[in-house]
Amino acid sequence: MTAALGHRREKIDALAARAGQVPADGGGVSLTKSAFRRLRRDPVAIIGAVIVVVFLLVAAFAPLLAPRDPLEQALLSQVRQGSIPGAQDGFPLGVDQLGRDVLSRLIYGSRQSLMIGVISTVLGAVVGMALGVLAGAFGGWADTLVMRFVDILLSIPGLLMAISISVLLGQNQYALMIAIAVTQVPVFARLLRGSMLAQRDSDYALATKALGVKRSRIVFTHVLPNSLSPVIVQGTLSLATAIIEAAALSFLGLGDPDISRPEWGAMLASAQAVLSFRPQLAIYPALCIIVVALGFTLLGESLREALDPKFRR
């Protein structure tokens, strides 16, 4: 395989290799535990975590937090083409082109956007992990086959792949999630395979094998759980990408057809029409996307560093 792709692979593999360093059942302070302790002292991690937690809470409690119904076209009758009523009592961030409360839409939008991000990432991770386990556990021709397939997927640029899949599946929000999920698959497949290979020769794996435990049991009770931390790191980073990618697909007209449903990407895309006189309608959802993506990236990067022995001081 080529070095450029190889480089991407190396990064994944480096992350995967760390799983091998995790001792099976504690034995002093586990790496995960010490990583967590380091994480708590890392201001970057704290900022990232706070951002993520705040947005998750907002999404979870959207109905309690939102001052209004995000679908209610409350001030529509005051909207004229070329002028939108500004912020006022009960509408702290003003209303959109259809007289709907922007704040409420942003709050409810966090649900939809995070849901698209989480579901597509989880879907991508699960499929990717399954492929990775297949390759790592069975080795041989299964390994070759799966890894060739992953290499092929890696050779298609992400957005092109997402577009092809959206076009194929038609325009609905599930298609959107699947399209993003597929672009995530190769990373996770590689990650899991790498981490399994790293563990295959570890002492505890050899020990359990010597005890006559079945291979599938070893995989599911020992190897897989130990591979989870790099998967979580990658998942956190992938979430940021997924949310941005969803916005891009919305912009290209491949998003949810029910555009009344508040979602940041769709809000951002539809605000382009009024950019010249009401840029806030684009800036608010864009800020939400940027901040959330930043939050997940900060958290993911500090998790990665915390788990990486190189960065231990």
């Binding site: 395989m1 070095a3 991407r8 290499d151 050779s155 298609i156 092109l160 941005i244 916005a247 010249s276």
Partner: protein, 334 residues
């Protein structure tokens, strides 16, 4: 070295075959199958039968695949359902624009990215370092089309400093020889035409260059940090080599290896169609053609463009790989 290149080329074959299988499957899976995709929903059963016959779609699937592969190898992807012209013609017309844009964007990204990344690493922990880290994180987090719209709004519309769309002023009756407009202007000595085309690259180039810029800063910084802590740098310093020599011979040269890989990878990605940026800037390249094909459901264009672009992406990666092998002998052994 030759063996290395040959081996890499051979490894390419399964990837390309796999790609073609995926694309063939995609085409088969389109709503209504390939005939409907090519003929549109109003096609009568007779039309479909005629098409299936002409393209052998009633034959066993493996035969169909081989035929598809044969056409792809001859660069025959059919005709666009919108313009009725050959997909390859459309591609060749659009591609020079994308190349120019990519080159401009990468010059911006490399020109700023490497010095900033290097500086950030050398002043590890300083405000330059933290700013560059935050900046590079932000660069990846901003949706490209939002950035593009904002750049246009501010610099093209409000301030009016730079053109905000197209590849060249339409009133400019410029001669186009190669369809690389900047180059054409230089070749024909129409300096104003070349300048105009160049100025049209600035805003989309910046928008497009942001992500590679952010990535290059990060990789440069990380790799310089890695190298500075390597034993050979410490040895070099210890044996009293001048700082400048250590910097030039040991740090920069070694640190740039992973950076060059990233540059290659990013170039490949940009070439594969800046769909979002080109759309916002109405820039006549491959990306905006893809966008139009999506909204017109022009499956011939989508299919042909995606295959050509994916193959190109793989080939660019191969080139990067080979040059990497030239730079770093260790790779060859692996």
């Amino acid at each position: 070295m030759l063996r290395f290149i040959v081996r890499r080329l051979l490894q390419l074959i399964p990837i390309l075959l796999g790609l073609s299988v995926l694309l063939f499957a995609w085409l088969r899976a389109l709503p209504g199958g390939p005939a409907q995709a090519a003929l549109g929903e109003r096609a009568t059963p007779e039309d479909i039968a005629r098409y299936n016959d002409a393209f052998g779609l009633d034959q066993p699937i493996i035969v169909q695949y081989l035929k598809f592969l044969g056409r792809a190898l001859r660069l025959d992807f059919g005709t666009s359902s919108r313009t009725g012209r050959a997909v390859t013609t459309e591609f060749l017309e659009r591609f020079p624009g994308t190349v120019e844009l990519t080159v401009f964007a990468m010059i911006v990204a490399i020109g700023i990215g490497i010095p900033v990344g290097y500086l950030a690493a050398r002043r590890h922990g300083s405000w330059i370092d933290s700013t560059s880290v935050i900046g590079s994180l932000l660069g990846v987090a901003i949706p490209v089309f939002f950035l593009a719209y904002m750049l246009r709004l501010v610099f093209a519309v409000d301030l009016g400093w730079l053109p905000g769309s197209g590849r060249q002023d339409v009133r400019m009756d410029a001669t186009h020889v190669t369809n690389f407009y900047v180059l054409d202007g230089l070749l024909t000595r129409e300096w104003d035409a070349a300048w105009d085309a160049l100025v049209h690259l600035v805003l989309p180039g910046i928008a497009l260059g942001t992500i590679p810029l952010a990535i290059i800063v990060r990789i440069t910084r990380a790799s310089v940090l890695d190298v500075v802590n390597e034993d050979y740098v410490r040895t070099a310093n210890a044996k009293g080599l001048a700082n400048a020599t250590v910097r030039r011979r040991h740090i920069i040269r070694n640190a740039l290896l992973p950076v060059s890989t990233t540059i290659g990878l990013q170039t490949g990605l940009l070439l594969s169609g800046a769909v979002l940026t080109e759309t916002v800037f109405a820039f006549g390249g491959v990306g905006s053609a893809l966008r139009e094909a999506i909204s017109n459901r022009d499956y011939s264009i989508l299919q042909g463009f995606i295959l050509i672009l994916a193959v190109m992406y793989v080939l660019v990666n191969l080139l990067v790989d080979i040059s990497y092998g030239l730079l770093d002998p260790r790779v060859r052994v692996r």
